[in-house]
């Protein structure tokens, strides 16, 4: 953190470095540990609306009930929204990643926000599969990106 003096234009500049450590809680921890240790993607089923929620979570936001059954989903799925990476978008300089997407994983009723990589012509409807990072730490980026399974 630093707070500077007033410059000639009459402005004061300040910089801050802040660190935060967010508890993932039991459900998200289990989800992230499965990415790390088994390279598997899990969802949880809402006993009320029967939707399989991905990423897995402890309760259904619509029904406000505890989720019960854990359901393995993916690793393949279908792109349901896509935005190309650009200087304005995040993930620039991340190698093969070409865009940000919502991916409807097979067996899930919600989509997962993540990156698309190795794709020449990414689009909505594209079939993709998860590519896991070599080194994994129990983090959403243990999935490096999703790549096309078709041309």
């Amino acid at each position: 953190m630093n707070n500077d003096t007033m410059n000639n234009d009459g402005f004061i500049t300040a910089g801050v470095n802040l660190s935060f450590n967010y508890a993932a809680g039991e459900a998200a921890s289990r989800f992230l540990i499965a990415l790390r240790d088994e390279k598997k993607i899990w969802g949880t089923r809402c006993p009320a609306c029967q939707r399989v929620l991905v990423p897995a979570r402890s309760f259904c936001p619509r029904c406000f009930v505890d989720t019960g059954e854990w359901v393995e989903v993916g690793p393949a799925g279908t792109v349901s929204a896509f935005a190309p990476l650009s200087p304005l978008l995040p993930g620039e300089g991340l190698g093969v990643r070409v865009g940000l997407a919502l991916i409807h994983l097979d067996g899930a009723d919600t989509a997962l926000a993540h990156f698309i990589g190795e794709a020449d012509a990414p689009r909505i409807g594209l079939r993709v599969v998860a590519v896991f990072a070599e080194s994994r730490s129990g983090h959403i980026l243990d999935i490096a990106y999703f790549k096309p399974t078709e041309r």
Binding site: F20, Y22, A24, A28, L32, L53, V54, P55, P61, R62, S80, A81, F82, A83, P84, S86, L88, L89, P90, G91, L100, A101, L102, I103, H104, T110, A111, L112, A113, H114, F115, I124, H139, I140, L141
Partner: protein, 223 residues
């Protein structure tokens, strides 16, 4: 309080209705030039699954636009600004009267939502219409002022409110004018009030905030 200034107007109106105050000053402000107005929106996404991807309002608006078969929108120009209105207990003064209000949140995870729709806006409008005793908004509402931080949103909100071919759709372009986030909704209310000082009618002012308009607020004013 967090959210659009139009929500603060609702809060002020409720405080009056509760008998707590007679006159309430509502102020919204945003000094976006001080920092990084797009970068800061990354802080609004859940820190476990979405924030680490670097999501911000520009990126997720591009995602939302793609579901509407639109190209990634350019970020709106973001300005510094503030807006204020004064609310008073209903009186015989022929000022425009606030007759309906409603607000609601959509789900948080983008992948949980249907980004081509806005259940939160539907719900906000339903609540406002119920209070205003409006059963056919297309017929009963004379004009509308919508908030859009990205240009495609105006059409999306209008279609949610009035269907795809909306005749009451009539609004100035907030995004093009660069009204700051969190001020825009209250600014819509001011526009509506200014016009209702010149003509009679029933008008709708709209505000939204958060990822892809996760928060929605609607106020109905009549004179």
């Amino acid at each position: 309080m967090a959210g659009d200034g139009l929500l603060a107007a609702c809060h002020g109106a409720m405080s009056i209705l509760a008998g707590a105050y007679n006159v309430v000053l509502v102020v919204a402000h945003c000094k976006a030039s001080m920092g990084d107005p797009h970068g800061i929106t990354n802080w609004s996404y859940d820190p476990i699954f979405q924030q680490p991807l670097g999501l911000d309002d520009v990126a997720t608006s591009a995602l939302q636009a793609s579901t509407l078969s639109l190209a990634p929108p350019l970020p709106c120009s973001i300005a510094d600004g503030a807006a204020a209105i004064i609310l008073s207990r209903p009186s015989s003064v022929p000022a425009p009267h606030l007759i309906g209000m409603g607000w609601a949140l959509d789900e948080h995870y983008l992948g949980d939502r249907d980004l081509t729709d806005s259940p939160a806006l539907r719900e906000a409008a339903r609540r406002a219409y119920t209070l205003a005793d409006i059963d056919d908004p297309k017929r009963d509402i004379t004009f509308v002022e919508l908030s859009d931080q990205f240009d495609y949103q105006r059409k999306l909100w209008a279609s949610v409110l009035f269907g795809k071919t909306s005749e009451v759709f009539e609004t100035s372009e907030v995004s093009a004018r660069g009204v700051p986030p969190f001020v825009a909704g209250l600014d819509r209310l001011i526009e509506v009030v200014l016009r209702l000082r010149k003509e009679t009618g029933t008008a709708l002012a709209h505000g939204c905030w958060g990822p892809c308009g996760q928060g929605q607020v609607v106020v109905v004013v009549r004179r």
